[in-house]
Subunit: 192 residues, 2 copies
């Protein structure tokens, strides 16, 4: 069996690499649009499952994941431009938000099976000045991140604390992934 990560996120790749796993990366062709009225939990789980399914094939263990940031019931996706990044960071400043990460695993032998789970992690942001927000946006890091920050990058400077799984905030909850593998009678560490 070959391990395939259905994600082009360098952070997810790095997280799997910290486990010393051997895997391939395949970009899943998935429409990530949120449905009208779709709950954030349902949304991330549906997308993670769609990503795993999109790269599944015989002989492959396919892993998909999706992350979104929720604050006061609103979903923050990836900012479309620097002004939107500034606005998102202003909203997160001094507040606690929820990072939802879904992970899904699909195998095809002998029948197609997909297992998935969603993890919620609370992240407390420090109070940011306008100057700090501008300095951070100028680094370029916020532009391709849900909620406009990366805990595994410069964004760590602005996070007072996390309550939950750090790997989940970074995009792939590793201990939940290990649990999903066990649910399929697979051992994640056997892919080292």
């Amino acid at each position: 069996m070959k391990l395939v990560l259905a994600s082009t996120s360098p952070r997810r790749r790095e997280l799997l690499e910290t486990l010393g796993l051997t895997f391939e990366v395949v970009a899943p062709n998935v429409d990530e649009l949120r449905l009208p009225e779709e709950e954030p939990y349902d949304y991330v789980e549906r997308i993670a499952r769609a990503k795993a399914n999109a790269v599944a094939q015989p002989g492959v263990v396919a892993v998909g994941a999706d992350t979104t940031v929720v604050i006061e019931g609103r979903v923050l996706g990836k900012p479309a431009h620097p002004d939107e990044a500034r606005s998102m960071l202003g909203r997160l400043s001094g507040q606690t938000h929820d990072v939802l990460t879904a992970v899904a695993v699909t195998i095809m032998d002998p029948v197609v099976r997909t297992v998935s789970a969603v993890e919620s992690t609370l992240v407390r942001f420090l109070d940011l000045t306008d100057e700090e927000i501008s300095e951070y946006v100028a680094t370029g890091e916020p532009m391709d991140k849900a909620g406009a920050y990366a805990l595994g990058g410069i964004g760590a400077l602005y996070v007072a604390g996390v309550d939950g799984s750090p790997s989940s905030v970074r995009g792939l909850p590793l201990h939940t992934l290990a649990r999903l593998f066990r649910a399929l009678d697979l051992d994640l560490l056997s892919f080292r």
Copy 2:
């Protein structure tokens, strides 16, 4: 001014690298023995300050850090052999422990100044079977880590959650480091 990290820990080096900083690494020559009756907070702060002081020189901003794991009032250092790693992991299994990380910054211009802080982070471990503990010890990862695990490695599989700063558990609390720089009228990100 040149940034110098007084630590040979690859994890601390990686954390500074995630900020995109330019720095040198110098191994500090410091006796890390804990004094009789020394409180864990006092111990890690004294060692972090000693490390920063050991590499301080004019024109340098020296950063030292020290991490220890405390469970039920007992300090867990680095395991001396695989059996001690197994015993430490057995103690952490299913429990919450405290990771104390101290960070210190020393500059010499115009007078020697050292600022420091200690961060406490709670880490909840999953219930581990003897088989999981043996599998983890066999990877070799536990052997040079305080408390016999690395959150930034395979150890992430065994951590149910963290309450506090993830970078602190990995050995260098980045937002606290930025705050110490500000206390010395320095900007951490200006070393990028």
